[in-house]
Amino acid sequence: MILDSKIPEGNLAEKWDKHKFNVKLVNPANKRKYDIIVVGTGLAGASAAATFGELGYNVKAFCFQDSPRRAHSIAAQGGINAAKNYQNDGDSIFRLFYDTVKGGDYRAREANVYRLAQVSVNIIDQCVAQGVPFAREYGGLLANRSFGGAQVSRTFYARGQTGQQLLLGAYSALNRQIAYGKVKMYPRTEMLDLVMVDGKARGIVVRNLITGKIESHSAHAVVLATGGYGNVFFLSTNAMGSNATAAWRAHKKGALFANPCYTQIHPTCIPVSGDYQSKLTLMSESLRNDGRVWVPKTKEIAERLRKGEITVNDIAEADRDYYLERKYPAFGNLVPRDVASRNAKLVCDEGRGVGASGLAVYLDFADAIKREGQPAIAAKYGNLFEMYAKITDENPYERPMRIYPAVHYTMGGLWVDYNLMTNIPGLYATGECNFSDHGANRLGASALMQGLADGYFVIPYTIGDYLAQTPYDKVSTDHPAFKEAEAEVIAKNNQLLSINGTRTVDDFHKALGLIMWDYCGMARNAEGLKFAKQEIRKLRDEFWRDVKVTGVNEELNQTLEKAYRVADFLELGELMVDDALHRNESCGGHFREEYQTPENEALRDDENFAYVAAWEFTGVGNEPVLHKEELKFENVKLTQRSYK
């Protein structure tokens, strides 16, 4: 298989415009002859479904939640980047492009990232027109703030609820199309298989989560906007229902999975408090604009603190180590997420961590409160401080927050070309579900940008090119391909229900999460990864022998839902380990202990690993086949990433 990224020829700045002119168009009167399925209704899915409807296509949209408004994009806090340069501080499309490629540790496709930066400006216009209440200055114009990994203020925000406001904007556009009858919405409906006819994606098999009924839907193209796979780790900042099943089952039907080991561990999360913990809560990275990260200078002080012999306020200024400011004077507390997370792990590994577990560092607002006053800080971060207080029962205005890194975002995902189409004709992947724009590390406020860029401004053009070359004929869901896929899904669910073992699904999920966190988390090494692969295989065998799933398929059955999702995580986890083991370098969120500079920074190997690793499924328990897409850098010089 040769991976063709279909990057248009020509100058970087002209590629997208030229491509938009060169793609084939579907006549407005013919659009109604095409059906498109969109799975997932977060930013990437809702924006695409709404825009397809506006263009005149017939759309079916699916989500597992009870309403499209609940997709996990809603939880994004900090903001959305756009190269508007409203602040007159030197921003430009090229600078946003450059920052994103560099932030991704030179493992993203130049052409995709440039296009992302180009359309970023349209996103803000669109959202404002929809009534998204972004933060504003007293003059009535839009406000901006800065975010990690950038030295300009290009982030638009709506208090600490930017994702919510953007998603409700996309949801309103989607609702308008539902009302017009152009989009048919299927909430509480989960995709369990992709259906291919003559080598093309022609539909999906779904489970109605209320009745348990297995149903099929056919279309001319299928768009997966199903988010990321961070819940492989069990504990993450993802929603409880976030899962990889739709993408993974498409992978098992032949879609390549790219860079699965690129996982983003977010530096500012609330630490784990006990083994009952069900998820981790993120505190927006924007907190690092004013909060100072530190730990005690010595192990001895940290130990006395953990034992409760002293409190944080007893530690003298001279005994505090503001390690990010010390090591990275230029960026200070605003280094990118991978750098901040790795450094938190380093100081905790040195025994200087705080909190009862020693797995936390301080994020201190005392200086900011002294400088700006408590009301100013409350105006900026009030809802985040409240959330912290609710969860920890501690007042962050009086003592520093305790934070620790947690799994947050997955840069890997289904391989797509420049048109966002996977290697399966007619199957697209957008938003976090694809691999394309963030390389090995995503910068803050870039996920919302990518999801909406893909959905509003990229795929509406590129899908037309494919459909224009597709006959109008519909495939009936009575086609044997649908019947076979349905039978497979039913058989798998029945198998899960019939095992009647002794261990719960959560039990297995937690065990998998622990393996992943310990050996394929913030730091990895070859020996650990090899061990993890064996452990995952053992766990997977045990799962299929000993899991306990109660009830039947034909009902609302949350245990069964969890079971089939975890069954897929148990396969995907192994692929993540394979990918991490094969990539003999460190880059962004993938840190291999064997490959680091004397200062513990990630050491890339551009000569041998400047490629996208796209894996082909060959059967559970078989070794996947690696396909490489070489990354060419013609506009950015590859250098050791430095934030000093």
Binding site: Q65, H72, L141, V272
Partner: protein, 261 residues
């Protein structure tokens, strides 16, 4: 590993939980003892612990809606001791922690109770009526593309902030559950007033108010009698002022109706 309060003692509690097989079956309260609950657990984590126990015994776990567990997606619900989202003000159930309960407590847990929110199973209700109300007019009719530059529409900060306050509604349904009439006025008013305040939303303000209210009535929500229970129980603090604004918007729209039907 201890949390923020290492001295807090684990609690034993008695739960009375609404169990209902499906929409068409009758339900009943079932009593479950739970032991060794950490005060640092969230309410839903406490239910996770109970469900794991039930599963190990081969019993069916309690079905409840939840997703982000950060208080923003609006998926979680639960009527706890007669209060929507439990005893803490301004808190969703997922953000409610067990430190607000005491050893020996009996806690009753019911689904949202409203004719417009039929029970799917146990504590899970059908809130699709909310989506249909939004589909009736909770949007500004702009297509993707062809919109003016974002800064061409200056909006006074005070207006933007007020619109934001209304826009933070998470659509959980607590307002309906808290209201003795099961009225959806707070939910509807939040969207109507957000968009009526913003210049972008003014064009369609009349049809929006009329159509959303009409859909609310079709769905079978009750009338508003201004008791304010909705705003008191709203986890994100949506203000009663929005209802006043909706009344004004609706009256104005009816008097000069643009609906041709």
């Amino acid at each position: 590993m201890a949390g923020s309060n290492p001295n807090a003692k684990p609690m034993d509690l008695t739960l009375k939980v609404w169990r209902q097989k499906d929409r068409n079956s009758a339900g009943s309260m079932v009593t479950y003892p739970v032991v060794g609950i950490s005060p640092d657990m969230s309410f839903l984590e406490m239910l996770d612990v109970l469900n794991e126990d039930l599963l190990r015994k081969g019993e069916e776990p309690i079905a409840f809606d939840h997703d982000c567990r950060e208080g923003i997606c609006g998926m979680c619900s639960l009527f706890i001791n007669g209060r929507a989202h439990g005893p803490e003000r301004g808190t969703t159930t997922c953000q409610l922690h067990m430190r607000h309960f005491s050893h020996g407590d009996t806690i009753t847990i019911e689904p949202w109770r409203a004719a417009a929110f039929p029970v799917h199973k146990d504590l899970i209700v059908d809130r699709s009526a909310f989506d249909r109300i939004q589909q009736a007019g909770g949007y500004i009719s702009v297509n993707t593309g062809g919109v003016p530059d974002a800064n061409e529409i200056p909006i006074p900060k005070s207006i933007a902030d007020k619109a934001f306050d209304a826009a933070t509604c998470i659509g959980c349904g607590a307002c309906v559950a808290a209201c003795k009439n099961a009225s959806a006025m707070l939910f509807v008013s939040a969207k109507v007033s957000q968009m009526a305040m913003l210049p972008q939303g003014k064009t369609e303000r009349k049809t929006r108010a009329e159509n959303m209210v009409a859909q609310m009535d079709i769905e079978g929500f009750g009338a508003c009698s201004n008791t304010g229970a909705c705003a008191a129980e709203c986890p994100v603090g949506i203000s009663l002022e929005n209802i006043a604004m909706l009344n004004r918007e609706y009256l104005g729209a009816r008097l000069t109706s643009e609906n041709l039907a």
